[in-house]
Structures are given as structure tokens and as C-alpha cells.
């Protein structure tokens, strides 16, 4: 690429940018009097425009292969849904930036303070540009704004809809865990889950949960679990507490979409109770901390055992109650039968008494007792017809039979028999 020629002509109408040249003139000792001036004692290299462009890019690649630049976004735009262009500026300067949509994993808008990881480059059109590999919001305001913008976008797509949430298995046997294994949060999770339940297979994917590589590593771990032939029943995505800035990997758009696409239900336990990340919103279940994730994931074996023992004890009690209930039912039935029979007997007795009374009233002797008498003819028939004077009659009262003779017979005026 580099020639050993003694002639140089860096100013070319097609590729030369005056600002770039002046900016680099000092370091490369290019004289402002170029192109005509040459120093007699020096050999000035000569390049074509393309070679010069390549040379500058090579210098950038050696000196600053990748740099992080912090600034405010201006003129942000996305072309054809693929290419992202924006300027990064501060009070004095502005740099053009370019990136692919694939690398844009947060929501960005003008005025947002961001940090970019980028490669400096001069394009074939002579334009200096930063090719951005990563971009993240910087400062509380920008982090919050990026979070809100992406949340609104993904919410509109329905990624956080309650109907997308799946239930976690009740007693999982095979659990996938994505976490840093050195983190206190992970240790808390293992301690609590082991106190609560045994007999499980816990497969841990160790990843970085902070920094620029975190989101990509978590995505790789999610893919790993989802591609297993024997899928875990649930995946726990864990990260202990930290500043909101430390949790920024969990707001990564690609990670959020990977969680949404997971075949295996996901529970997150990220940060502190007050922190909400987009990963939390898209997960099937959100635990407030890694310890809380362990509590949600499995029941406490002490509670299970206490429940089993209580219910076992209850079986005998329940059986005793049932037997007692059956005994009482039999006794109640017997009592009822006895009372019914007594009642029936009492009714029958009353009826008998009444019949007896009625019978008593009909007894002629009772009539005689009330002072009446029966009058019969001499041959013993009840006297119904009018007797003749001197007829013999027999009068019977309660105590006596009196033979008598009729002396006189008169018709009773009001007697029923008077007409006879």
C-alpha cells in the first residue's frame, strides 16, 4: 500500500477533506504548502487517493482500533430500516456516526447522552465517520429515557402482554440458571433453593451479567438452554443488586426479544426489589431478587412435610368423626322410631278410651243409673204400644223389678208417643 515514491499529492478533489487534512497535518508532518512544496532533504511519499484513504484507515486501526466516545445524539435517523446515522456532539465538536440496526439494541433519540464503542474510519467519499459497534445510554436521564422508549415500543408489539405469560412448573426437576457464579445473588439463590427443596438438577450457565458483553452472553446461554434435547422446565435469569446502570444489560432489546422467544418459561430475579428492567417485564414471572426467585420457584420442603403430616393425622380424626356421625345417626333413628311408636300407641289408647266412653253411654244399665226405668209387658217385651187398664206390666229400674197393674192411661200432649 505504502509507496516509497518521493512524490506526494494528498490533495485530491475527490477524497480530500480540508478539515481532516489540517487536523492530521501536524502529526504526519504534511506541509500546508502542499502539493507544490517539497523539502529538498526529505523524501515525501506519494499515494493515490484510495491508497491515502487506506493509509489513514490503517493509521486509525493501529492507533485507535476501537474507542469509546461519549456525547449527545443529534440528527438521529434510520435509513431503509437497516442503517442508522447520527451525530455525536458536545459543546464544541461533532462526529458523524454510522451503525447497522442489528447493533442498535436500545432506543435512541436526539438529545440523549450515550457512550458508543466504535471504530474510526474514513469512507471512500472522504468522510470521517465512527462505525458504531455498541451504544448505551449514559446518565440517569438518558438511561430512563432509553428504557421508556424501548418499553413503549415493545409494549406496542405486545411483548409484555399478560396473556403471553406462562405458568411455572409446580415442582420443577430440571432448572436452568443463567448467572454470574461469583455473584452474591447467585450464592443466595443456590443456598435458598437447596434449603427449600432437594432432588433437582440445576444446570448453570455462567455468564457475565454486567458490562458490554453481558447481553450477548445471556442471549447465548438462553439459546443453549432452548436448544437442549432435554429441555429444562424453567430458566432463572439472575443478577444481584447493583446500580441501575449496572443492570442495563437487562434492558437490551435483543435480549428482551430472546426471552420472549424462549420455549422454556423464564423467571427473572434481577437487582433489588425496586428495580424493573425490560427483561423483568417480558419474563413469565418476575421475582424481586435472586433469593425471591428461589422462593417462587420451589415450595419449602418443611411446609410440604408439615402439610403431609397434618393431613395424615387428619385421616384418623376424619374417620373417627365419620364413625361418630354414623353412630349418632343410628341412635337418632332409633330414638325417632321409639318416639313414633310411643306416639302411635298413645293415639290408639286415646281412641280406645273414647270408644269405651261411647260404649258406656250406650249401656242401658247406665241409663237406669240416671233414674230412668224400662217398662215391659207381662211377657217381657218392651212396652211400645198403649197399654190397657188392668194390663200387667213389669217396671225395671236400677235396683228393682216391679210387677204392676195399669190403673189409668193418659195421652201425653207433647209426647212423641201420644199419637201412637
Amino acid at each position: 500500500m505504502k509507496r516509497s515514491s518521493t512524490q506526494v499529492s494528498l490533495l485530491d478533489e475527490e477524497t480530500c477533506h480540508p478539515e481532516l487534512v489540517s487536523g492530521s497535518s501536524e502529526s504526519h508532518e504534511v506541509s500546508p504548502e502542499l502539493p507544490s512544496a517539497t523539502r529538498s532533504s526529505e523524501v515525501v511519499p506519494e499515494f493515490t487517493v484510495s491508497e491515502a484513504t487506506a493509509l489513514f484507515n490503517q493509521i486509525f486501526e493501529t492507533a485507535t482500533p476501537t474507542i469509546t466516545v461519549i456525547g449527545e445524539v443529534a440528527n438521529f435517523k434510520v435509513n431503509q430500516g437497516k442503517w442508522v446515522f447520527f451525530d455525536l456532539k458536545d459543546e464544541e465538536s461533532s462526529l458523524g456516526c454510522f451503525m447497522s440496526v442489528y447493533n442498535l439494541r436500545i432506543a435512541v433519540e436526539d438529545g440523549m447522552k450515550v457512550a458508543i464503542v466504535a471504530r474510526p474510519q474514513i469512507t471512500k467519499w472522504g468522510k470521517f465517520s465512527l462505525t458504531v459497534q455498541q451504544i448505551r445510554p449514559v446518565g440517569e436521564g438518558s438511561i430512563k429515557r432509553a428504557f421508556e422508549l424501548l418499553r413503549a415500543k415493545l409494549d406496542k408489539e405486545g411483548l409484555f402482554a399478560p396473556e403471553r405469560k406462562r405458568l411455572l412448573p409446580e415442582l420443577p426437576q430440571r432448572i436452568g440458571v443463567i448467572s454470574s457464579i461469583d455473584a452474591a445473588g447467585y450464592k443466595d439463590f443456590v443456598k435458598i433453593i437447596s434449603q427449600r427443596m432437594g432432588g433437582m438438577e440445576i444446570i448453570v450457565a455462567p455468564v457475565q451479567v454486567q458490562g458490554e458483553v453481558a447481553a450477548e452472553q445471556i442471549i447465548a446461554a438462553l439459546k443453549y438452554f432452548n436448544e437442549m434435547s432435554d429441555l429444562p422446565e424453567v430458566i432463572c435469569l439472575l443478577r444481584g443488586g447493583g446500580s441501575r446502570d449496572d443492570l442495563i444489560a437487562f434492558d437490551d432489546e435483543k435480549l428482551v426479544r430472546e426471552i420472549a422467544a424462549s420455549r422454556v418459561p423464564i423467571i427473572t430475579g434481577v437487582g433489588h426489589e425496586i428495580d424493573t428492567t425490560l427483561a423483568d417485564l417480558v419474563a413469565d414471572v418476575r421475582a424481586s431478587t435472586p433469593s425471591n426467585a428461589a422462593e417462587i420457584l420451589v415450595p419449602d420442603k418443611r411446609e410440604i412435610l408439615a402439610g403431609v403430616e397434618m393431613r395424615l393425622g387428619g385421616l384418623l380424626g376424619g374417620m373417627r368423626t365419620k364413625i361418630e356421625r354414623a353412630e349418632k345417626e343410628v341412635a337418632d333413628n332409633l330414638d325417632h322410631m321409639k318416639r313414633t311408636m310411643e306416639n302411635m300407641i298413645s293415639v290408639a289408647e286415646n281412641r280406645l278410651r273414647l270408644l269405651n266412653d261411647s260404649l258406656q253411654h250406650l249401656n242401658p244399665r247406665e241409663v237406669l243409673r240416671r233414674g230412668y226405668a224400662i217398662v215391659r209387658t207381662a211377657n217381657g217385651e218392651i212396652l211400645h204400644t198403649k197399654p190397657q187398664v188392668s194390663d200387667k206390666i213389669v217396671v225395671e229400674n236400677l235396683k228393682f223389678l216391679i210387677n204392676a197393674k195399669v190403673e189409668n192411661v193418659m195421652n201425653k200432649v207433647d209426647s212423641e208417643t201420644s199419637s201412637e
Partner: protein
């Protein structure tokens, strides 16, 4: 290990629940209750043993999840 011990905790708990449900049923067969209670007691003991003895197996994946970006940076 006997066949019974190969049951998962879920299966054992389900069986135990079925016994409890039998006892809570409308018609309690007192003759059969004794055998059922014995069965429930045995299951409870197996559950107790399983919960007390079984440990978790924790396997840390050796594969690196360092992505392309990480290697580049």
C-alpha cells in the same frame, strides 16, 4: 432402590392426595380404611425420607458463552 422410591415427589404427593380424597369421600368403607391408612402412612414416610435425603445436583456448564462481540473487544 425399590420401585416405589423411583417415584418423583410429585407422583408421591399425588398418590397421597388421592388417599386423602378417598377418606374425604361420601361413603367411607371402614373395613378398607385401615389398609388405606396404612398406605397413606407409608407414603408419608417415603415423602419424609425423600425430602430429608435428596440433595440437588448442580452442574456448571463448561462451555464459554463469550459471544463474538466479546472476542472483538
Amino acid at each position: 432402590m425399590s420401585a416405589k422410591n423411583d417415584k418423583t415427589l410429585r407422583e408421591m404427593l399425588d398418590e397421597f392426595e388421592a388417599i386423602v380424597a378417598w377418606f374425604n369421600g361420601e361413603d367411607l368403607d371402614v373395613e378398607a380404611a385401615s389398609a388405606k391408612f396404612e398406605e397413606g402412612s407409608k407414603l408419608a414416610e417415603q415423602i419424609r425420607k425423600k425430602l430429608a435425603e435428596e440433595k440437588n445436583k448442580i452442574e456448571i456448564i463448561e462451555k464459554s458463552f463469550a459471544g463474538k462481540n466479546e472476542e472483538e473487544i
